[in-house]
Structure formats: structure tokens, C-alpha cells
Symmetry: C2
Subunit: 429 residues, 2 copies
């Protein structure tokens, strides 16, 4: 236990503070498991004079990244500054200087992960990124190791805490979207500009990382079909509930006949599905493997200490690596190229809520339009009409997206159909 590994920290925000705190309160456990001492030698900050929630020796702080990245004594760089431009530069230079890299940066890993991992491999190093998806939940390591005996056929994740918090408040407290968003912002679960979360972008980046690993391929953000949660109305959540479903923003990846389909969209899942019970800001990843069947990993998808927990787990592995007790784990450098299947080529069940004039024949016309495209209906609710308008909610059986879209165009053209209020995909199992 004499050896002490020197570590450079880039960034001392939410996650960085968590890392320091964990190294303090769990020092004995962490060093025992790592088999060496750990010294945080230098920390990159923007403002060394800023007041911080964690006590830190001011002498460790620097505003010069190169002082850390090029320090020959530092063997491990922990990148927690976020963003892609500077983070990319620093990580690249760190690898070139033969340092191990740990990062919590999902954008960086989604955009440049494959290239950086290749560089790491060339330098005999590795990048650890457990904290980049799912905060404190172990996801990367189980995918790489524990499920290594499987071909993963499907993954479905609740991997954005902000939107799950909002949907939970809408569902449990009957809060409308605006009120739920406001509450999320007040409690720190949504940023002041919540676009990236609400529009599904954050989830799409994380899906790229998970799907790349699960399907052993390179997956780009542009390959993901993305729909956010802004259009969701409280009525949809309640109708879904009446029909036995829960509405969640899911990130879904599937391997179908050697191709990969990737999408993020609001989804109705059966209320008995394990993902349906994932509440508040929690995250979960549900996986189907051809040997194991269905497994799910659940926990806090963000936060100082949970995300710090994943960073420090990576640090333990890195240090064991440096001490030659582990060599680089499994590297993700031999990606297979797999074709991307666009969403139009997929099949899905659909939930549709629409407003029609309450007159004879409307229902029949609707049913015929669906029948013409071989879209069969699974469940229908027609609510009491108010002021001559009927609200109709229906769920189709699984159909090709293209057939459904054709039926939808026909329906939209009916004079008696006043408005398509909402449209969501349904996953039955």
C-alpha cells in the first residue's frame, strides 16, 4: 500500500465536489479496493477564489489545464468540465501523454468516443466512462462484462431524469406540463434552459453510448430518431392509465436482422412493466439478452454523490490497472459497421387521441380508414361528447409505421375529424 497514484481533476463543479467528498469519507474502503493510495495533485477551475461546498487546499487549484495534463507525475486525468470543444482537446492531449482518462461527459463520448478509445488503445491506455450515462447506476461495466455472454437484442432506457421527474409529477399529482416543469426547475431537476432534456437530445446522446456498447457498433447522434415530451397533455397520461399503460420518455435501441434501430420518444408501456415503476428523477436501463432474458438496472441518474460514485469506481479500476492487476478491461475498439434502420421501416403499436364532430358515421369512417391500411385496432375509448365534440382514444395493434402514417393521412382528411390531439407509440412488452 506504499504506492500513491497522482490524479489530476479537470473541473470542480457538482460531480467534482462529489468525487472529492467520496475520496474523503470512504478513503479507507477506496484505497483498500484500489490497492494504492490516491492523491488529487491538481484541480482545474475557472475561478480559484470561488466559494465551494467542499473544502479543498487552495494550492491544488489552477486555471491552466496544461499544467495538469502535461504533468509527468500525474497518471490519471478525471475530466468533469463537460462540453465538447475543450474537453475533447484535453482528453486527446492526456491520452497522447499516456494518461488514463476517466470522464462523465456524455456529449464527448457520444460524439468522439470511438475515436478517443482508438487513440487510447494505441497508447496502451483506456477511457473509463461509467459516469457518462445513468449517473450512479452501474451500466457500462455490466454491459461490457456481466452480460458478455449475451447478444443484446433490445435496450429500453429511462435515461433522462428531468423528463421522468416531470412525467411522474403529471401522473401522480395531476400537475400539468408547465407546472411540473416549474417544480422540476425549482427543485434543481431541470435547468433554466431545459431544451436539451425536454426535446430528448440528452437521452439521444446517452442512447448512442449505450447502443454502441450493446450492439458493438458505432452509433451517431444523427442516427437516432428523437421526439421530446413538450406535446404531452395530462389527458393522455390519464387515458393511458385507464387503458393499463404508463407514459414514459424511452430511449430504445434494437438490433433487427443485423441492423440497428434507435429512437427516443414518449412511449406507452404496460403499467406492470418494470420501467413503469421508475419514478421521479430516477433512471433505469432495461435490457434483453439472448441468454439472460430481461434484466433491469435502476437508480439515481444524476447528482453529485451518485455520479461521483461511478467516477470513483472507475478510478479504483484505473489504479488496479496501473498496478498491473487489471489490463485495460475489454476495449471497445473493434466496432462492427451495422446499417441503421430508419423509423419508417419499423413496426409499432400506436396510441391516438383525436377530436371529432359527434355525428353518426364518424366512427365507421375511422375504422374503415384503418382497415384499408390493414391497421387493426386493439382498444378504443369514446368519451361522452361535450358541445357536439367527441373525444376518441384508440390503440392499434402492431403495424408498420408506413401503413399507420397512410391511415393517419386519410383520417386527417375527414371533415368530421377536427383535430389529432396526440400520437404516441406503444410498447406492449
Amino acid at each position: 500500500m506504499e504506492r500513491v497514484i497522482k490524479v489530476g481533476l479537470l473541473g470542480l463543479g457538482t460531480v467534482g465536489s462529489g468525487v472529492l467528498r467520496i475520496l474523503e469519507i470512504n478513503n479507507k474502503e477506496v484505497t483498500r479496493r484500489a490497492g494504492a493510495g490516491i492523491e488529487i495533485k491538481k484541480i482545474l477551475v475557472r475561478d480559484p477564489g470561488k466559494k465551494r461546498s467542499v473544502q479543498v487546499d487552495p494550492k491544488l487549484l489552477t486555471t491552466d489545464p496544461w499544467e495538469i495534463i502535461r504533468d509527468p507525475e500525474i497518471e490519471v486525468i478525471i475530466e468533469l468540465i463537460g462540453g465538447t470543444k475543450e474537453a475533447h482537446l484535453y482528453v486527446e492531449e492526456a491520452l497522447k501523454n499516456e494518461k488514463y482518462v476517466i470522464t462523465a461527459n456524455k456529449d464527448l463520448m457520444a460524439l468522439a468516443g470511438a475515436e478517443l478509445l482508438l487513440l487510447a488503445g494505441q497508447k496502451g491506455r483506456n477511457i473509463y466512462y461509467e459516469a457518462s450515462v445513468g449517473g450512479g447506476i452501474p451500466l457500462i461495466r455490466p454491459l461490457k462484462h456481466s452480460l458478455g455472454a449475451n447478444k443484446i437484442t433490445r435496450l429500453m432506457g429511462i435515461i433522462n431524469g428531468t423528463t421522468n421527474y416531470i412525467l411522474t409529477r403529471m401522473s401522480l399529482d395531476k400537475a400539468d406540463f408547465a407546472a411540473a416543469l416549474k417544480e422540476a426547475q425549482e427543485k434543481g431537476f431541470a435547468e433554466q434552459d431545459p431544451s436539451s432534456d425536454l426535446d430528448g437530445k440528452d437521452a439521444a446522446y446517452k442512447l448512442c453510448i449505450l447502443a454502441g456498447l450493446a450492439f458493438n457498433s458505432r452509433v451517431r447522434y444523427e442516427n437516432v430518431y428523437v421526439e421530446g415530451i413538450r406535446g404531452i397533455n395530462l389527458r393522455d397520461i390519464f387515458y393511458a392509465g385507464e387503458l393499463g399503460f404508463t407514459l414514459k420518455l424511452l430511449a430504445i435501441g434494437e438490433e433487427i436482422n443485423g441492423g440497428i434501430a434507435l429512437r427516443v420518444h414518449p412511449t406507452l408501456i404496460p403499467s406492470t412493466h418494470p420501467l413503469a415503476g421508475v419514478l421521479d428523477e430516477n433512471n433505469a436501463l432495461y435490457l434483453v439478452g439472448n441468454a439472460v432474458g430481461e434484466v433491469m438496472f435502476y437508480g439515481p441518474g444524476a447528482g453529485s454523490m451518485p455520479t461521483g460514485s461511478s467516477v470513483v469506481a472507475d478510478l479504483i479500476d484505473v489504479i488496479r490497472n496501473i498496478n498491473h492487476q487489471v489490463e485495460n478491461g475489454i476495449m471497445e475498439t473493434d466496432f462492427l459497421e451495422k446499417r441503421i434502420i430508419p423509423i419508417e421501416m419499423l413496426s409499432s403499436a400506436f396510441y391516438l387521441r383525436l377530436e371529432a364532430v359527434d355525428q353518426p358515421g364518424v366512427f365507421a369512417g375511422l375504422a374503415n380508414a384503418f382497415a384499408d391500411e390493414a391497421v387493426s385496432l386493439d382498444r378504443i375509448i369514446q368519451k361522452r361528447s361535450v358541445q357536439g365534440k367527441a373525444e376518441i382514444v384508440l390503440i392499434t395493434h402492431v403495424v408498420e409505421e408506413r401503413s399507420f402514417n397512410r391511415a393517419l393521412e386519410k383520417i386527417k382528411a375527414f371533415p368530421a375529424i377536427e383535430r389529432i390531439n396526440s400520437l404516441f407509440r406503444v410498447v406492449e412488452s
Copy 2:
């Protein structure tokens, strides 16, 4: 990829067949991840002539364990015969012959794991036992690695599929205990002699393995307080539901002031708790760490392919180990001795269902008996009396077990109390 690692398989039952099948259908993925070829060189069976669900070259089969264990070419022994006497003998001899050992044997690991791991360490080898708890769910590796930055303070597991299947049937189908058990036996989720499952023993063995790892200590079966599910009546499941709870057989381990408390018993948990949604034969482990907070791992707790998935994941690690790409992972040989806290010293909330003569003053007497022991009541249901008997259901606040037991003795002595029908512990969060 020229190197081929030779493996000996002890046992070709349910799990052994799954292992062979996975090595067949996922051969490309498994060898790529392992970085070497895998050859099952010999298989120990009782009856070489027996018809099997998996195709296997008859030349591989042998009835002589030593032919496998002492074969100098075989580097890895996979022990899947179960039981403790012979399995212990074989594993010990395999380690003495400097072979790596993979086992799915929970009894062996619970009873002799510490001793065998020590021997493995002395021989520069290791024992992998992911499959011994939770079937296909990654539990051992996440506990050892992914959550390495944490002090685990509590674990709660649904780690017996048989009892969870029975409780699910009772809850969802209103089946009584006997009918649910019969269905479980017909579907292969319960054995013909289901005692070890129903009485909580199976869960207690698995708890020993998990708690030993989580709290880094040695835990013995005798240290676990065990109660099974035989006494559970359908009425309790419905009253629990009315009060917002779900009844599950939980294995609970806690570290309290440096001591460890271990118990397996039927438990009421809030119906919104992630464990409450774990249905049918599925298993789940819920963990609280001082950095990560609450995480849960969910999936199939048994079965040929799921358990095989864990065995083959271990095999991939072993082979990487043999190729010096990993060295022994984290060893569990430096256990700390921690005192065991008996259940009488714990505090808990309680659910109580009792039958009383429906006469004035009964309720007051009950309330006074509790008040005398400082047991305060949280929720009470009194059902309409039938034939002069009232059924009373109540839940206490958290109290010391000793106080509750004293109050219970007083209540039992009341002439108006005819019967204590059931008594369960309640976990509020």
C-alpha cells in the same frame, strides 16, 4: 486468437446445458470478448447414457471427477453439481491443482466460500460465483466493482424466485397459498419438496454471500434470522394492499454502528417501492450506498440460460485472467470481523391482524397495551364484525422489537382477544 483454453465441466443439468448452449449460439461474441478460444474438454455426469436436451459428443462425458480435476491441460473447472459434500471436495482439489474455479453453488459459497477463497488466493487463483445468487442478474460483479466507491449500508433482496412467484399469484390472481404453490410446482418454479424455498433457507444462504461482500465480512447461515412464507393468508395480502403495501419475502442485511443485522422474513413494503413491482419468478437486489444512494438490479433469478449467462460471463473473465489481461479481480480474502446484531436488538414497524370479541373496550385495551410499551400506532382498520367477532388490522410506527414483543404478550393475555392471526414486519422505505 490462436490460444484455446481447456475447460472441465462438473455437472450437465439445467445450468450445464445452458452453458453449453450459450457457448454454441454466442460463440463468436464470447471468444471475441474472452480473447481466446474455449474448449469444453470433459464433462462429469452421473449417467453417460441419459438423454439430454443439449447435443454433446459422448466422448466428452465421464463419471470420474478426478479425471477432470487432475487433468493438467484443463485450466478452468466449472462446478455445477450442487450440494456441498462432493462439490466442496472437488473445488478444493481443483484449487490445489491451481485451476480457476467457477461455481453456481450458493450452498457451497455460503458455507465454505471464505475458506475456499483463501485457498484460491494462496494458489494465485480465484473463485468466480456470479451465478450463485440471482441467476442471470449481475450482482456479485457490481458489488465488487461498480459500487466499490461506496460503504453499503443496507441491502434488501427478493432472491428466491419460488416464493416470489407464489406471493405474486396470491396477490394478482387471489389464489390461496396451497393453490399458488401447486401452480408453481406445475410450472417448474417450485420443487416437489419446496421446504428450502418456502422456509426462507435458500434466501438466507444467498443473503450470506451478498452480505459478506457488501459489508466485507464473514457471515454465517446461523447469523441469519429466518422466517418463511407458509403462514401467509390471502387476507393479509389484501389488507396490506388496502394500506398501500405489498407483501414480499425479503432478505435484508444492514450495517448498524459497525455491526451487521441479517434477516429473511415476509415484509410489507410500500407499493411504490421498486421492489414491490418485482413480479413472478423474478429476483431483484436493492442496495443503499453512502455515495450512490439507492440502486436496484432486477432480472431472472434462475433458469438454464440466465444462470448460464452468469457462468459464461465468469468464464470470459477467467480466460482474460489466464491471458494476463486481468489479474484475479478484487479478492475477498481480507474480511473484517463484525459483530452480529440479533433481531431482538433491532427496531421495526409491525403489521398485526387479530380477531377479537366485538364488545366495548377491546379497542381501548389494545391501545393501552401498546401505549404502555411506547408502541404508537400508525394505521388501523377494523372490519365489520361477523358472528360477534371483529377483525382488527393495525400497523405500528417503528419500535424496538423488544417493546413490541412485550406489548404483544400483554395483548395475547386479554380475554377479548381470540387469536393473533398474523404478524409481519413493515419496511417503510
